[in-house]
């Protein structure tokens, strides 16, 4: 299981400002080990953010998103104290979900 995400969600002018930092190697599958063998691709391919049962952002990623991905966006329709939930899935089928309260 991967390390937890760092999620910050704050109210800014009636909008929820979300910043997420995920812990993931995001291997492209093109990098080589010192012995010349390829490091297999290992990257997050889908991210879903939900709040109060509603999807607020969906993302599909390729391996060219940077290591330990950063993601920021804004949405309306939630208030201080509500919980947002972030789930990622990688190309190995591993998933991780973390939650944060909106401050």
């Amino acid at each position: 299981m991967a390390d937890p995400m760092r999620i910050r969600a704050t109210m800014v002018d009636n909008k929820v400002d979300v910043k997420i930092l995920m812990a993931h190697p995001m291997e492209t599958g093109q990098r080589k080990n010192p012995d010349g063998t390829l490091v297999p691709a290992h990257y997050i391919d889908t991210v879903t953010v939900t709040c109060k049962g509603k999807t607020v952002l969906m993302a599909e990623w390729g391996p060219s998103v940077s290591r330990n991905p950063y993601l920021a966006f804004r949405f309306t329709g939630a208030a201080k104290g509500d919980t947002i939930s972030v789930t990622w899935k990688d190309n190995h089928g591993d998933t991780r979900t973390d939650e944060a309260a909106i401050a």
Partner: protein, 156 residues
Amino acid sequence: MIKTISRRHLLAAAGRWAAALVAVTVLRPISAWAAERNHKAFEAKSLDDVVGAYGGSSARLSTDILLTIPEIAENGAVVPVAVESKLAGTRSISILVEKNPSVLSAHFVFPEGTDPYVATRVKVAETSNIIALVQTADGYYYAQKLVKVTLGGCGG
């Protein structure tokens, strides 16, 4: 004979159980993803191919897409990209790196209530145009900017 049949039954039953277990534990979470990832778009080698993979025909240049990237990236492995669309009815934003082996880096879908804005970080293999592709109700639009890379982001 009887032994063989019972063994077969046992195996069949076990198979059904395994299938049911797989269905419950694996298929359900996957089906929870509203849309299946568009693999074809992520294998595309050009902007037109990406637009095609998402079902469009061509993209028009737009000045209503604000693309924020550094002019020079010392480290191509971490290039901050922010995209904000002022186009009405923006449904999705894709970030493409023209010179990367596969151009499409990330694709974001915005349900109603979410601002057509996203910021992330991408890898850029060499000095290249970064393209922000926006899908609206009436077609595809894009904006592009050059980023100079002094140290590549892929390999090494």
